[in-house]
């Protein structure tokens, strides 16, 4: 078996003391920056890049990769504890993770997230090692029309993220779409809704929007509600999930892993969709969907697994084709090139010790992450006992530092504050933020792919129906919209007939 020879080669590389140490350093740094709100892997890897000049290439890449997937582990921590999503994939973790924390189940949420992530990380790495070609075939069937239809499905499904009024959720989706369209139009290079501010020419930064709407507005609300109270959460329950919680979480993790592994391969925004799609799926298959948004453990387990499986399989387009799916992987590609290793089709045959060594290191890294993270959970949860008067300035401080480091721009910090106030107003009006945020992420991708598909088809809209994958996604979108609309429609009609 050639594959086992390869893996054996990989482990012989990954299991040297030096590479284990670098892997360990990488995942440790990743965990730390993941936990700090706002400070993301991009800034960290960029800062560490010159240091890796002096390390051997394999060790350097193992370490940088460790930072990337380590940060995915840590990212859930702030979402669950203080409602601060540092990246798109962590948004849905807030929806049920934070309510769990408020009920005193933060430890359980973090444990489920960590164990689910280990499982997903290992499955994702196995997929990376064994199922590269079928996964690439999936990715290859996604052209512009398919991406467009996928984003349409995502936009329609954003309604599912809300628990309250569907009308309000729909409105929030449109607000999100408008926010997402700020910036330079790709086709004509025309500026849209920038009001003469050059800082807006590349759009509004995701972290500013997400941190403002979720985290900052939460802080304002907390200050309004219970400034004098000790800590956010009065009681802290058991750190470990109950049997009932495990029973709900395990199948959710498994489904999330599958979904994440599949969507992670799509370079044009698939990874963004993975945690979100998993949440929507869990809510659909659940017999008690009303629990979602109020601390349903499936809503943490599924998306967290999806996001970690996706983080591993997103290495497939990078290592096989040289296509990085996101900013972190683009940076990693640059780092590999600095070390004289160009990621691309030849890498597996020309540098097998590097290719398989990095893959093998991911197994080791994922195990190390759980060993690091499980004992830390107790520590994180204890942070919630800190009086809020001390905790919230610290959170705000780290947020501002993190947001600033993204582009070294004070504008982003102001934008975060703006969205904090906007989020506070939305909450007072009973409008939910998650649909807005998803629409904000998906709308530019939807628009771009829609217009590109029309250009490619010379204006023939049938391109969305003629291609089977796209047609399937469109059909799913229509069914979803009908499911959402019909019961409401019936209800209003019943009300109308009664009168």
């Amino acid at each position: 078996m050639e594959l086992f020879d390869n893996l054996a080669l990989g482990f012989s590389v990954a299991l040297t003391w030096q590479n284990l140490l670098f892997c360990m350093i990488g995942v440790l740094i990743g965990t730390l920056i993941g936990v700090l709100p706002g400070i993301g892997p991009v800034a960290t890897i960029a800062m560490l890049l010159p240091i890796t000049f002096y390390a051997p290439p394999i060790a350097a890449i193992i370490m940088l990769a460790g930072i990337y997937y380590g940060a995915q582990y840590g990212g859930s921590t702030t979402s669950i504890l203080v409602n601060m999503p540092g990246e798109a994939s962590a948004v849905v973790t807030c929806l049920d993770g934070y309510p769990m924390a408020r009920m005193g189940r933060a430890g359980a949420a973090l444990t489920v997230a960590a164990v689910g992530s280990l499982f997903a990380g290992i499955v994702g790495t196995l997929a990376l090692a064994f199922f590269t070609s079928p996964l690439l075939a999936v990715a290859n069937s996604f052209g512009s029309p398919e991406y467009c239809s996928l984003m349409a499905l995502g936009l329609a499904a954003s309604v599912v993220l809300a628990q309250g009024s569907i009308l309000k959720a729909t409105m929030m989706i449109f607000v999100g779409m408008l926010l997402g369209l700020v910036g330079t139009d790709v086709q004509s290079a025309t500026l849209r809704y920038t009001f003469g501010l050059p800082e807006l020419s590349d759009g509004i930064g995701f972290v500013s929007v997400a941190m403002g709407l979720f985290g900052m507005s939460e802080i304002i609300l907390n200050l309004e509600r219970r400034l004098r109270q000790q800590g956010v959460i009065a009681k802290i329950g058991s750190l470990f999930p109950s049997r009932e919680e495990w029973r709900r979480a395990i199948p959710a993790s498994a489904r999330g892993t599958g979904l994440g592994a599949l969507l992670g391969v799509l370079p044009g925004g698939g990874a963004v969709m993975s945690s979100f799609a998993s949440y929507a799926l869990e809510k659909r298959v659940s017999k008690t969907p009303e629990r979602f948004g109020n601390g349903a453990i499936e809503g943490v387990a599924g998306p967290e697994a999806a996001n970690n499986a996706g983080a591993q399989t997103s290495f497939i387009p990078l290592l096989i084709l040289g296509i990085p799916s996101n900013a972190v992987l683009a940076l990693l590609a640059g780092a590999m090139m600095i070390h004289g290793v160009a990621p691309g089709p030849q890498i597996a045959s020309s540098k097998p010790e590097l290719f398989w060594g990095v893959i093998a290191s991911m197994f080791m890294g994922n195990v190390m992450l759980v060993i690091i993270n499980l004992p830390l959970i107790g520590l994180w949860v204890r942070l919630l006992k800190i009086p809020y008067g001390i905790l919230f300035p610290a959170i705000l401080f780290f947020c501002c530092v993190g947001v600033y480091t993204l582009n070294n721009s004070w504008f982003d910090v102001l934008a975060t504050a703006f969205f904090g106030i906007l989020g506070y107003m939305f909450r007072k009006l009973g409008c939910e933020m998650a649909p807005l945020l998803m629409a904000y992420v998906l709308a530019p991708l939807f628009e771009e792919n829609l217009r590109r598909s029309m250009l490619l088809s010379r204006g023939d809209a049938m391109v969305f129906i003629d291609r089977p994958v796209s047609a399937g996604l469109i059909a799913a979108t229509i069914i979803l919209i009908l499911i959402v609309i019909l019961p409401n429609f019936r209800k209003t009609r019943e009300v109308a007939f009664k009168e």
């Binding site: 991009v42 800034a43 890897i45 960029a46 890049l49 010159p50 000049f53 290859n140 996604f142 052209g143 512009s144 330079t184 790709v186 086709q187 004509s188 290079a189 025309t190 500026l191 050059p198 800082e199 020419s201 590349d202 370079p267 044009g268 387009p317 084709l321 040289g322 296509i323 990085p324 900013a327 683009a330 940076l331 990693l332 590609a333 640059g334 780092a335 090139m337 600095i338 070390h339 004289g340 160009a342 990621p343 691309g344 089709p345 030849q346 890498i347 582009n407 070294n408 721009s409 771009e448 590109r452 250009l455 490619l456 010379r458």
Partner: protein, 328 residues
């Protein structure tokens, strides 16, 4: 009374001037006596960023002062340029200048907050590389002439891709389309990686790609490189024909990088920066790292940099004006 007060003013001005002059003299003698910053107009990971980190690594080693790399992406590099132009003219704020900021943007953008020729001065060039015209493997043509013939036989049916209006790959590609008289649709993508993805799936035929992304794909057989956008073949990849050989000598677009500072920076400091950075760029280690991005070192004096950039401005101006491209 009046006279004395004027004298007082005069004396005061003289003292201030003398102090300031002394200050600059001292500043030049012990430059640098604090941390430098290198502003990169793009996000981490690309050639801009890598060059900045090479320069930073070298300067902090020889001068014992940290040189902090600051990524300031946005607005086609204009935000970063504006930042450097507004910083003090003391040589402590360096900019990675590239084709856009230093030459093309002034003709493409309608309202720029800075003028690269008035407000910025190059201390040294860093490196350059031509672009590569690659076709996806779904295209059967193996030479540029074959491909042009194929498109002429199928007018209005084929597509080419670019990473945004007003970028140098788009301008170079549009020039080629115009010179060859091709009837094709141009499809915009967000960034070169999205283009490569589309090319591998056969969504678009060709693009003008940057070296470090095109070469691994070319060697791995996923795309075919038909020409480099230069008058001669590129020494690092001599197997790829040049645009001039293929009959398009004025498709000559290079991706190039320099270190620029505020135009008001004292000349001795500009020269000191240029000389030290050039020394770093010529080290074996730097050369190797550049080569892995397909780039060659062109570092030298500020005057050499001025000549290089002037020639580039003279090349791009008629191209942008001929294509009638403007961005707000």
């Amino acid at each position: 009374m009046r006279r004395t007060s004027l004298d007082c003013v005069r004396a005061f001005v003289l003292v201030v001037a003398a102090t300031l002059l002394a200050g600059t003299a001292v500043a030049q003698d012990n430059f640098p006596n604090r941390a430098l910053r290198i502003v990169v107009p793009f996000p981490p990971g690309g050639p801009n960023d890598v060059l900045a980190r090479l320069v930073s690594d070298h300067l902090s080693k020889v001068w014992g002062q940290p040189a902090v790399v600051e990524n300031r992406p946005g607005g086609g590099g204009n935000l970063a340029a504006d930042l450097v132009v507004k910083a003090p003219a003391d040589g402590y704020t360096l900019l990675i200048g590239a084709t856009g900021i230093m030459a093309v943007n002034q003709f493409v953008y309608k309202n720029l907050p800075y003028s690269s020729s008035r407000d910025l001065v190059a201390a040294t060039m860093l490196a350059h590389a031509p672009l590569i015209l690659t076709v996806g493997t779904h295209v059967t043509a193996t030479t540029l002439a074959d491909y042009v013939a194929f498109v002429k036989a199928n007018p209005g049916k084929r597509n080419w891709a670019h990473p945004g209006v007003g970028t140098s790959p788009q301008l170079a590609a549009a020039t080629f389309v115009a010179r060859a008289g091709l009837d094709m649709a141009s499809i915009p993508y967000r960034g070169t990686t999205a283009i490569v993805d589309a090319q591998l799936k056969g969504e678009i035929d060709w693009t003008m790609d940057v070296m470090h992304s095109a070469i691994p794909l070319h060697r791995g057989g996923k795309v075919r490189a038909l020409a480099v956008t230069a008058k001669q073949r590129w020494p690092l990849f001599p197997e790829i024909p040049s645009m001039a050989e293929a009959g398009y000598p004025d498709v000559d677009a290079a991706a190039w990088f320099c270190i620029a500072v505020h135009a008001g920076t004292p000349r001795p400091i500009v020269e000191r920066l240029g000389a030290e950075i050039a020394r770093g760029m010529k080290s074996e280690d730097s050369k190797q790292r550049l080569a892995s991005f397909g780039m060659l070192d062109i570092s030298g004096t500020p005057d050499e940099a001025r000549r290089y950039i002037d020639a580039q401005i003279a090349y791009w101006r008629p191209i942008v004006e001929g294509l009638k491209i403007t961005v707000e």
